[in-house]
């Protein structure tokens, strides 16, 4: 064990290996590792963002659902009210219409009755006269009824 020129040779080897590591080993590996670290960090951040987005979206959807339900309830109530109103209005209108029709028919009927009555009255008078004529033709006995006819003539 003596120190000799091997020392110089070994220093050269050492320097060569440091140079190889410095130029060809460490930088590419370090780059790959840093890139991977960046990718992992990005992936984690994206996952975190996605989770956050999901939370927001589910909250939004719940809000929307509740709002829609509220609105649907409102619309239903409104519709029921409206339906009631329409039914009421229809009922009123029908009543008015019915009254109108009833009144007009009643008036018509009265007119008709009146007309019939007056026609009847005329026919009664005619019949009465005709009846009277027949009776008169058979039974007139000018002698017997001269007094009555004379009285009628008197009256007419």
């Amino acid at each position: 064990m003596s120190i000799n020129a091997t020392l110089i040779g070994q220093m050269i080897w050492f320097a060569i290996f440091i140079w190889i590591t410095m130029k060809y080993v460490w930088p590419p590996l370090q780059k790959a590792m840093a890139e991977r670290q960046q990718q992992i960090a990005d992936g984690l951040a994206a996952a975190e963002r996605g989770k956050h987005d999901l939370e927001l979206a589910s909250k939004r959807s719940a809000d929307a659902l509740r709002e829609a339900k509220d609105r649907a309830n409102g619309i239903t109530a409104e519709a029921e009210k409206r339906a009631r109103e329409i039914v009421e209005a229809a009922k009123d209108a029908a009543k008015v219409e019915a009254d109108k029709v009833y009144n007009s028919k009643l008036a018509e009927l009265e007119q008709e009755a009146e007309r019939a009555r007056s026609a009847l009255r005329e026919r009664v008078a005619e019949l009465a006269v005709a009846g009277a004529e027949k009776i008169l033709r058979r039974e007139v006995n000018a002698g017997a009824h001269a007094d009555m006819l004379a009285a009628l003539k008197q009256e007419l």
Binding site: N4, A5, Q10, K31
Partner: protein, 261 residues
């Protein structure tokens, strides 16, 4: 015990000595430990080459297989760097990764049974006495080469971050104030010199001792079987720990160099 069929009688001493001898080329200072250079270089090229290939193919998608494993190791090292070093120098993380991965791989050579690779190399070379140490971190040349490189980077960072004036001010005034400038300077020199020495000797000592125990266990004949396994399991801990300690202290030194008091 290995190679009982040697021509000359194999003693315990020669077995140990043989295992602790490097394959040398050259003489004097210009001696090269071929085994250390080859094994450390081969392991480094293998592991950093495959790391470079894997890194080139790395995707930012789902990592699988080896990419997963290396990302885990490298981000563990990077986390240590981030926790300790608060400057912003692109050199520190690669430096720490290189140290951890390379030292761990070289230490891990210790886990291959102690006679396996030497015997293989002897058979392949045809030389029955070929010495070949397969754990580069048991060679102080390697540990000192690493710690001195770390030391140089540390000094460079000191100048770069604090500037010449700032660094000199720190060297001469910390910790006792400007009146005791020579003492401060002396303390600083001792402190800074101690850093690479302790760094390299710690790794060398641990691995050398661990290897030594393996060699001693190898001397026990049939009894090495029940002993080698527990020591091997325990050694996995030492291997990792030493790689981690070397890396961690380097980061600490770098952070001290980059922070002004």
């Amino acid at each position: 015990m290995s190679a009982a069929a040697h021509g000359e009688p194999l003693t315990a001493t020669s077995y140990i000595a043989h295992h602790l001898t490097n394959l040398k080329v050259g003489s004097g200072f210009w001696t090269f430990h071929v085994d250390t250079l080859l094994v450390s270089g081969f392991l480094g090229l293998l592991v950093f080459g495959s790391l470079a290939v894997l890194a080139g193919r790395a995707t930012s998608g789902v990592p699988r297989g080896w990419q997963n494993f290396f990302e885990m190791v490298l981000s563990f090292v990077n986390q240590q760097v981030k926790d300790t070093y608060h400057g912003n120098n692109p050199l520190i993380a690669p430096l720490a990764i290189t140290i951890f991965v390379w030292v761990f791989t070289m230490n891990a050579m210790d886990l291959i049974p102690v006679d396996f690779l030497p015997l293989l190399s002897q058979k392949l070379s045809g030389n029955e006495h070929l010495p070949f140490k397969f754990v580069p971190t048991t060679d102080p040349n390697l540990t000192f080469a690493m710690s001195i490189t770390v030391f140089i980077i540390m000094i460079y960072l000191n100048f770069k971050v604090k500037g010449f004036g700032g660094f000199m001010h720190e060297v001469f005034t910390v910790p006792f104030g400007p009146k005791l400038a020579p003492v401060n300077f002396l303390f600083r020199v001792i402190e800074d010199i101690a850093k690479p020495i302790s760094l390299s000797l710690r790794l060398f000592g641990n691995m050398y001792a661990g290897e030594m125990v393996f060699i001693l266990i190898g001397l026990l004949g049939i009894w090495q079987l029940p002993l080698a396994l527990p020591w091997e399991l325990f050694h996995i801990l030492i291997i990792t720990l030493q790689a981690f300690v070397f890396m961690m202290l380097t980061i600490v030194y770098m952070s001290m160099a980059s922070e002004s008091h």
